[in-house]
């Protein structure tokens, strides 16, 4: 896609400059205190709360005209909300967009980290629904804030331990809590726990929760440890299959129901990753000769 002019009816990247400065200050403090949730005066965006307003504000505060933006939801570029957010920035910032992870300088995501390793010079922006990892254990902000201040994380370990006692395994499959740089317990947003190891990255990772008015960050090369126990170590998991289109055995898979007789197939959730492999000639169980 070619770069275009942004819609002159709006400021570059939609937000007014004062709002951007406020978000930018929050982002810098977030990088300085990895994993800590910085309160910010989230603005009302022209899209609903819960649909990526935090990520959109962070992206808007970061974009330059030279950027190339990729937006994914569930790993795919063509899911409706990803399309909607991409169109929003095409219109209001006039930036180039791409579906290719390697070509993107800013990637806004909901629920996935791309399969291709991210590199220096890239920024990954997460949309976050509930930024507080302790929220479902303690609904009160006044309490959870104290717990973070005192580094009092016993409650979350008790929860994980009770899982093991009841189910024989930790029953958190996504939004699996992590500890950043040995200090703050952080919610990595609802990514599958398969993606957790990728939180240690060469890229800058920024998290925006609009409705909950929080911004947080993981600088590059920062230690991110998924919470676990010595006798129940953390394991990232995925469907025990290969991709039926590109044959990849290590990517995160979507399960697709193909008929009403129990037929199903598994395909890469990261559509760009899968398409690139197919273009390189990789084939899966259900690839026709004409696939690609």
């Amino acid at each position: 896609m070619t770069a275009m002019q942004h819609d002159p009816a709006y400021n570059f990247a939609y937000l007014d400059e004062q709002t951007k400065r406020m978000i930018r200050r929050a982002l810098l403090k977030a990088l300085a205190i990895p994993g800590y949730q910085v309160p910010f005066a989230s603005r009302e965006m022209p899209m609903p709360y819960g649909w990526g307003t935090g990520g959109v504000q962070v992206t808007a505060a970061c974009l330059t005209p030279e950027d190339r933006l990729k937006v994914i939801d569930q790993g795919a570029d063509d899911t409706t909300n990803a399309v909607s957010i991409r169109k929003f920035f095409e219109r209001t910032a006039g930036v180039e967009t791409t579906e290719h992870t390697v070509q993107a300088s800013v990637i806004q995501t909901r629920h996935r980290i791309p399969e291709a390793p991210l590199t220096e010079g890239q920024i990954l922006v997460y949309q976050v629904p509930i930024p507080e990892p302790l929220r479902f254990l303690e609904p009160r902000e006044t309490e959870t804030r104290k717990m973070h201040a005192l580094e009092e994380y016993g409650l979350i370990y008790v929860k994980l331990y009770e899982d093991i006692a009841h189910n024989g395994a930790i029953s958190t499959a996504y939004a699996y809590p992590v500890k950043v740089e040995g200090r703050y317990v952080m919610d990595p947003s609802p990514i599958p726990k398969f993606d957790n190891p990728k939180l240690e990255s060469a890229a800058i990772q920024l998290f925006g929760a609009g409705r909950e008015q929080r911004i947080y960050a993981i600088p590059p090369y920062t230690q991110v440890v998924s919470l676990d126990f010595e006798d129940h170590p953390f394991e990232p998991s995925k469907a025990d299959h290969d991709c039926d289109l590109c044959g990849c055995g290590t990517s995160y898979l979507d399960e697709v129901i193909t008929d009403d007789a129990g037929g199903r197939m598994f395909v890469c959730s990261d559509t760009d990753f899968c398409a690139a492999r197919q273009a390189e000639g990789h084939r899966g169980r259900l690839s026709g000769e004409d696939a690609a």
Partner: protein, 361 residues
Amino acid sequence: MYVAVKGGERAIDAAHEWLAEERRGDPKVPELSLAQIREQMSLAVNRVMAEGSLYDPDLAALAIKQARGDLIEAIFLIRAYRTTLPRIGHSRPVETSDMRCDRRISATFKDAPGGQVLGPTFDYTHRLLDFELAAEGAAPVAQTGEPQQASTPRITDFLNRDGLIQDEAHGDATPPDMTRQPMEYPADRPLRLQALTRGDEGFVLGMAYSTQRGYGRNHPFVGELRIGAVEVEMEIPELGFDICIGEVTLTECETVNQFMGSKTEPAQFTRGYGLVFGQTERKAISMALVDRALRWQELGEENVGAPAQDEEFVLAHSDNIQATGFLEHIKLPHYVDFQSELELVRKMRRGAQGSMKEAAE
């Protein structure tokens, strides 16, 4: 042969076209004008202005039209628009004592200076469908009286004169602005009142109702309810004095609530306060009750664990734009997370079935 779902963009465009067509409805029926909405759906317009936190009846009418009458959607449109407006300055606090009242009632006194003025109220109408409204008729004309020239004194001021009601602290501090600063708990009263005045009418009503039914009861009387226009003034530094920049219609409710007093303090009434854009009296009364319930700590009352006493619970859940956005977001695809849970449940079932089998053997 399976192909990954494509065409999100086309689907969105088609959906928007269909929406526009449905919004218009049957083209044989004349289109609504904004003036019609503004004049004949004025209470809907008022609610959109109040919860949208933007006083502009024409824009509210446009939002209602665009939202096909879905008021929360209309409030959302107004909020998103409001965010883009530059902040030029601050008005002086409005003086509701100088309100040109269309309606002014007190439940605590039979009569008072300024009088009881019913105004254009649904109270005492019999809720019988008026089938004559279904036909177009001549515009009704109401009888008129002499407008009062003097300002209408406040009922609570009469009580205050005798020390029977607690005086409210005066302060010159600039109140925080919840649209420019992140919410922080505990919140002070100005912040709570801001959240309540733009809070969802249904939510605030429900909270207020719960206090009446015993969940944090605070024995309210409507000391005074007044609806009318007030002038908005702004200080212009270059001029060195205040000028009137316009007029807004407000609904103000002050409740008079029981207070037991203590060994050191004589018994006194206390107040709850509601102030809302437009003619919005259900909301203003509800706001006053919830405000009073949230003041338990400051007034030395017991927290009985009632929802309406719980500041964080009330303030964090009163905003319908936040609530509806988050509620409706569960419509978005979540299949990545679901897949992750699916794998986990399969794995745990395999484990459980394995151990059951072992136990059986």
